[in-house]
């Protein structure tokens, strides 16, 4: 009997001891090491039409890297639905990849966890220096005044994709440059029995990217200069309302899009049901769905008036993918060499062509492959009229809270309920109060 009890007590103590160490976190080794110089694990985000496509794109490059350096890279393509959770659990436990891709908007949030290797001057020197990268892209790599938490890998921008045939049928000579023109054109398109503009009303990130730009155009910001959430200023309310009004009042966006969250609007566009789409670097995506490049045109995202530029003329968020190194990697040298390899001119050309994105590396950008009219629009937008999403630690909470608010507003609009300044403000108020106090 006694021995049993002793065993039981032992078991409990053991588990509690494990628990205690668990509380201590698994990542006590802060600096990283070079204990296993021959291997690397790499989590890639899903950039192509499917995970399988990504593997086909990346594996040959990784083989090339192995040939050059003798370092074998274990690739895992993580779907977007899992990526942030996987990064979080990796951060908490210290059990993660050596190198990984992150959405560039998460940079500041992930930077705050302290799990990612800061790119100070010394680390930058190992990959060829900070100057190789475009400033816009570097603007979305972490909080201002801190060393970047990640390196830009692919850059993207929003553009207006329009179906040439539908435009011709509706008698529209050139793509709309302002929202008023877009609304007017929508009426002509709808008269021909087609849907005008697509949106992903239930996709929180898409909502955020758009209301962010609308806020810029209304001269407003979601965060104060010192990083405090400020969602309820009249201008922000007006901005969010005018985005939702594209469905609620202007009827440019079909109500059915309110429940879209899985890129159904891209597919509607590819099938020719939809005349216009605001999307980031959609070319590869549309091609995989069988839409030929001649069938659509690309124009800058509309503004309120005038031409795209800075300030209130901003017409896209700086989108893209950054590459980060986990601080506690056991192959620090290999990891930086891998980042250097992936940001080399040659790889930048290959990868950004495959994903129809723009290289954030200036020397690669100059390549003829990125000089086509289609990519020119994206390149110009990035250079001239794109702004980085707020680089604050609570960015990911902001995406959830405000993205959910916009989703609910779209649901209201779709159900035929009025979307008023009051209802918008109420939703944003709630979102703001859910933000962390810090």
């Amino acid at each position: 009997m006694r021995s049993i009890r002793a065993a039981a007590v032992g078991a409990v103590t053991l588990s509690l001891a494990l628990a205690a160490t668990a509380c201590g976190g698994g990542s006590s080794t802060g600096g990283g090491s070079n204990d296993s110089p021959k291997t690397l694990t790499y989590w890639a985000s899903n950039q192509g039409a499917s995970v399988a496509v990504d593997k086909k794109v990346l594996q040959p490059e990784l083989d090339k890297f192995e040939k050059q350096t003798g370092i074998k890279v274990e690739l895992e393509v993580v779907p977007w639905s899992d990526l942030l959770n996987r990064i979080l659990t990796a951060t908490t436990s210290g059990q993660g990849p050596d190198v990984l891709n992150i959405g560039n908007t998460w940079s500041a949030s992930l930077q705050a966890t302290g799990a990612l290797l800061p790119w100070d001057a010394k680390n930058f020197a190992r990959i060829g220096g900070r100057d190789r990268f475009a400033d816009t892209a570097l603007g979305s790599t972490g909080a201002q005044g801190k060393d970047p938490a990640a390196i830009p890998l692919y850059s993207m921008a929003y553009a207006l994709y329009y179906n040439k045939k539908i435009f011709a049928e509706a008698g529209i000579a050139r793509p709309p440059a302002t929202w008023a023109e877009l609304t007017a054109d929508s009426k002509k398109i709808q008269a021909k029995g087609k849907s005008a503009l697509g949106a992903e009303g239930s996709n929180l990130s898409e909502n955020i990217h758009h209301v962010f730009v609308f806020a810029k155009q209304h001269g407003a910001d979601f965060f104060t200069a010192d990083g405090k959430p400020d969602f309820t200023s009249p201008k922000v309310v007006e901005a969010v309302k005018s985005y939702v009004d594209l469905m609620a009042k202007d009827k440019a966006i079909p109500t059915g899009d309110a429940e879209y969250a899985q890129n159904q609007s891209v597919s509607d566009f590819a099938k020719g049901k939809l005349a216009m789409l605001l999307w980031q670097s959609a070319a590869a995506n549309l091609k995989s769905q069988g839409m030929s490049e001649d069938a659509y045109g690309i124009a800058p995202v509309p503004v309120i008036s005038g031409k795209p530029g800075s300030g209130t003329q901003v017409n896209s968020a700086v989108m893209g993918i950054n590459m980060a190194v986990f601080k506690n990697t056991d192959n620090l040298d290999g990891a930086t060499r891998f980042v250097k390899f992936m940001t080399s001119d040659e790889e930048q050309k290959i990868l950004n062509t495959a994903y129809s994105s723009i290289p954030p590396v200036k020397s690669a950008q100059a390549d003829a492959a990125f000089g086509t009219p289609a990519t020119a629009v994206l390149k110009d937008t990035l250079a001239v009229s794109a702004a980085a999403l707020p680089q604050v630690a609570s960015e990911s909470q902001f995406e959830t809270a405000v993205g959910t608010a916009v989703k609910a507003l779209f649901a209201d609009a779709a159900a035929g309920r009025a979307v008023t300044a009051d209802s918008v403000e109420a939703k944003l108020q709630k979102a703001q109060q859910q933000m962390p106090a810090a």
């Binding site: 668990a22 039409a49 995506n285």
Partner: protein
Amino acid sequence: MSSTRSPVPGTRSPMAPPRSFLWSRRIFLTLLTGFVLIPVYVMVSSSLKPLADVTGKFRWLPSGLTVRPYIDIWSTVPLAKYFVNSLIVAGAATIASVVIAVFAAYAVSRYDFRGKRVFTVTVLSTQMFPGILFLLPLFLIYVNIGNATGIALFGSRGGLILTYLTFSLPFSIWMLIGYFDSVPRDLDEAALVDGCGPFGALLRIVVPAAVPGIVAVAVYAFMTAWGEVLFASVMTNDTTRTLAVGLQGYSTLSDVYWNQIMAASLVVSVPVVAGFLLLQRYLVAGLTAGAVK
């Protein structure tokens, strides 16, 4: 049908039921069949439709039949790999869960010991634990065990097996206690007198008499492991991913391949549903004696 001399348990009176009963039954069962069958029909028919049919307006009859989705599912997503993973995880979890539950239930059913009530109450109360609360701690424990002992639980099938088998333990133990209680004690006492040890009595007498209950428990354990999403999404990686998570790969960045989703869903469901239906008789018998007595 059944004469009064050999009454079939669970049937009602030998009298013919009144017309009102027959009509209610007919109407109710017809409606219910419709409710149950419509999604199943949608699943089967959509899996045979071309992509244009499933991304456009719903139609009851396909514009054309195709088996393409059944070919494509294997290349869009490494379904075969996930299938094998799920089979290993669910199979191992089921076997281990049944063995452990049999031991525990036997102890509770046949012995009096201190802490028995505490044990049963604690085990059953774990049914109330919100998974979300212990997901992250469990993950951390696995990582720490890995760091301390070198046994890789996190990201491995082993960790998932341990998790799932424990998920199904409470219900399994509880059901088997009920079932073992219904196996007459005289039988295993006789075996003990005949010189069998307690394990002999368990294996030779109690287990054979409790087959339906054990099958019911096994089916439950298998289904729990086969369908779980939350823990699998965090605890697996590319090589150990299970079906329930892997199926999400069909809604990709560019398009939602509904026909492939449906085809893959059918492929992963068929083994479970078939097994379930084959073992259905045992299941009812097992529950009859185990859970509801």
